[in-house]
């Protein structure tokens, strides 16, 4: 029985590796023609690097924006649930946050264009007028609300449950004795959290944030629907001209593409694969260093 279990578990682990290797091999094999093709034959006509660079920029910008918004919120929510709220409220709230993960991304996309976008128009106008000196609020503000800021906000809501679930697990397991010890020494609740719970949960928060970042990097439908893309490379978050993301660009252009254009799209997928890999390896490295300390 033990042997059978060990074999089954090994097989399951190997399957994952095989699938991953299969996807990577597919991306390389199908993307290769675009990587070696003459610049003028590719979409845009200026070579693959020129084609993928704005997309990679947009992908990273949208995901980073989402992480910057979502991580503090998720950590705060996790702390509230594990250490501040009365048990009954904590349970309900935790359940509700998890429910956010069950909403399909296309629904988030529709919510983004029909509700959040229009609601954000006056806010973005205000940002342009009052904070326009900051490059990210340079404007002119979009009149339809389909901007990088709104896309980032929607992505933030989407990754919130992942980040907060991981953080919650970690915070809940913070050693009781340390917490009680801190309070016995006269620490306030906040001081106790800062000295015992947060350091204990740090590596989990980082890995949760990276999981969320990975989700945001690959998110397709919501971004495809919301973002008004026109290939511009800009940090301006409230304008109508935004860089597209790799995943959204594939979704938008695949249906009408043929021949080499499809290879080019798959090659951008390979770039996204690489970005996600680097992100995850970076996270592993950070966590490993944390654990050594």
């Amino acid at each position: 029985m033990d042997r059978a279990f060990a074999h089954a578990a090994t097989a399951a682990a190997l399957t994952i590796l095989v699938i991953l290797a299969g996807v990577a091999a597919f991306l390389v094999a199908e993307g290769a023609p675009a990587l070696t093709a003459a610049a003028s034959d590719l979409p845009g006509g200026k070579g693959f690097i020129d084609y993928v660079a704005p997309l990679a920029f947009g992908t990273v910008l949208a995901a980073a924006l989402a992480a910057v918004i979502a991580v503090p919120l998720a950590v705060a929510a996790a702390l509230f649930i594990t250490h501040v709220a009365p048990p009954r409220i904590a349970l309900t709230l935790g359940y509700l946050i998890d429910l956010l993960a069950a909403i399909p991304s296309i629904v988030y996309g529709l919510w983004g264009i029909f509700v959040l976008g229009p609601a954000a128009v006056p806010v973005m106008k205000w940002l342009e007028e009052k904070l326009g000196f900051i490059p990210i609020f340079d404007g002119p503000a979009s009149v339809t609300g389909r901007t990088m800021l709104v896309a980032g906000l929607v992505l933030a809501v989407m990754i919130l449950p992942i980040v907060s679930a991981v953080a919650r697990e970690a915070f809940a397991q913070a050693p009781r004795r340390l917490q009680e010890g801190a309070q016995a020494l006269g620490a306030t609740r906040w001081e106790m959290i800062r000295m015992t719970v947060l350091p204990f949960g740090r590596s989990s928060v980082i890995s949760g944030a990276m999981l969320g970042l990975g989700r945001a990097l690959g998110e397709t439908m919501a971004v495809t629907i919301i973002l008004s893309v026109s290939g511009a490379v800009t940090f301006n978050l409230i304008g109508q001209a935004n860089p597209s993301t790799i995943a959204a660009n594939i979704a938008l252009n695949f249906p009408e593409s043929s021949g080499l254009a499809i290879n080019a799209l798959i090659a951008t997928g390979l770039v996204l694969f690489a970005i996600t890999l680097v992100t995850n390896m970076g996270a592993r490295a950070i966590i490993a260093r944390q654990e050594r300390i």
Binding site: V143, T144, G145, S228, E256, S257, S258, G259
Partner: protein, 370 residues
């Protein structure tokens, strides 16, 4: 807690009631709707793929055709024009719908001839739709735009609604100084290709961008799909975009100058352009291929030159007799006055004119088993 339980129970009951009501109404619809006996003579199973612009029309055609011919099963996969052409060339589907005629680039036309046998390729227009210039400018019900002005707006050279170029053609209209937000498609599309083709042919001096299914101008507002463009134009003030006229909804459409007249995007005006256009000789090698070179520069009265033409691509010879029979019957139905009227009613397209129907009918009648 018990009040919460009551809430859940009530909600559940309401959902259940709604569900029952919905079932009831759909059943009513069915009994009231179809009057056909459903005992048709054609059987067989054929698959098609292609243009998303044709999707609504294809769905209507398939429903009605299968209703008439209970033995036939037709499918249409709206993968996009490029995908449809590719699947047709590789023999994956029996017919394709495409917003562009098979081109000589990348040897598409030769491959298609090879797939069917020389001279046996069919390419006929089956779906014609005017592209409307939709805008959202509160207080302005009627807007006239000359082609130069239109090109400059979409090239982002005219940026304000009270620009003298717009005011010149709209005497007596109180134009606000709102910023113009041009909205274009973010995905590659036949609509974009037809619109940019119109601009570059009619006002080449102003429109210096390439003709492409990918919107060539950077920095505009972009939205995915026709519905996305309509939604973006509706959402913002001072927006202007281009979309299938049938999808414009409650938005106003601009009138475009044709010759010395102001033309509106009506189905009749769109159909008339095709009727008056010559065939593209290079792209129409056989007697069954009808690739039109649209006369965008037309100045004749009652035409609207911003038009999307979508083609039905098929062969005259199929291996199996039942497949040939089904393709023939379906293709004949598509271009028949009944089929065109159905598409006009369901998808808002422009029916083929009687003269055009007469011209292309021999092509689909030639389909046979071989």
């Amino acid at each position: 807690m018990s009040s919460f339980r009551w809430l859940v129970v009530t909600a559940f009951a309401v959902i259940l009631a709604l569900g029952v009501a919905a079932c009831g109404s759909s059943a009513d619809g069915e009994t009231g709707g179809s009057s056909s006996s459903g005992g048709g003579e054609v059987s067989g199973e054929i698959a098609g793929a292609g243009s998303t612009a044709q999707q609504a029309a294809q769905e209507a055609w398939i429903a009605e055709f299968e209703n008439e011919n209970s033995g036939a099963t037709i499918s249409y996969d709206p993968v996009g024009s490029g995908g449809g052409r590719e699947q047709f060339l590789s023999g994956g589907v029996a017919y394709a719908g495409s917003d562009a005629a098979l081109s000589t680039e990348e040897g598409e036309l030769e491959k298609a001839e090879a797939r069917c046998a020389p001279g046996e390729l069919i390419e006929v227009p089956d779906y014609i739709s005017p592209i409307a210039i939709i805008y959202n400018l509160p207080g302005v019900e009627e807007l006239k735009l000359a082609p130069e002005t239109l090109a400059k707006i979409f090239a982002q050279e005219i940026t304000s609604w009270n620009d003298p170029a717009i005011a010149k053609d709209n005497q007596g209209v109180d134009l606000p100084d709102t910023r113009i937000t041009p909205v274009n498609r973010s995905d590659e599309s036949g609509t974009t290709e037809n619109f940019t083709e119109y601009l570059s042919e009619v006002v080449p001096g102003v429109w210096k961008f390439e003709v492409s299914g990918d919107w060539p101008v950077e920095g505009g507002e972009a939205a995915s799909g026709t519905s996305g463009v309509v939604e973006a134009v509706s959402a913002g003030e001072g927006t202007i975009g281009y979309a299938d006229a049938s999808q414009a909804g409650e938005l106003s459409s601009a009138q475009v100058k044709v010759g010395s007249e102001w033309a509106e995007p009506t189905p009749e005006a769109a159909a008339k352009v095709i009727e008056e256009s010559p065939l593209d000789k290079e792209l129409s090698p056989g007697k069954y291929t009808f690739a039109y070179e649209l006369d965008r520069k037309t100045e004749s009265e009652g035409t609207y030159p911003i038009v999307l033409t979508s083609y039905l691509i098929a062969c005259t010879k199929y291996d199996s007799a039942s497949e040939a029979e089904a393709v023939k019957a379906y293709a004949e139905y598509l271009i028949s006055p009944e089929g065109q009227q159905l598409a006009a009613a369901q998808a808002g397209s422009a029916p083929l004119s009687p003269a055009l129907t007469k011209k292309v009918t021999p092509a689909v009648e030639a389909i046979a088993a071989g």
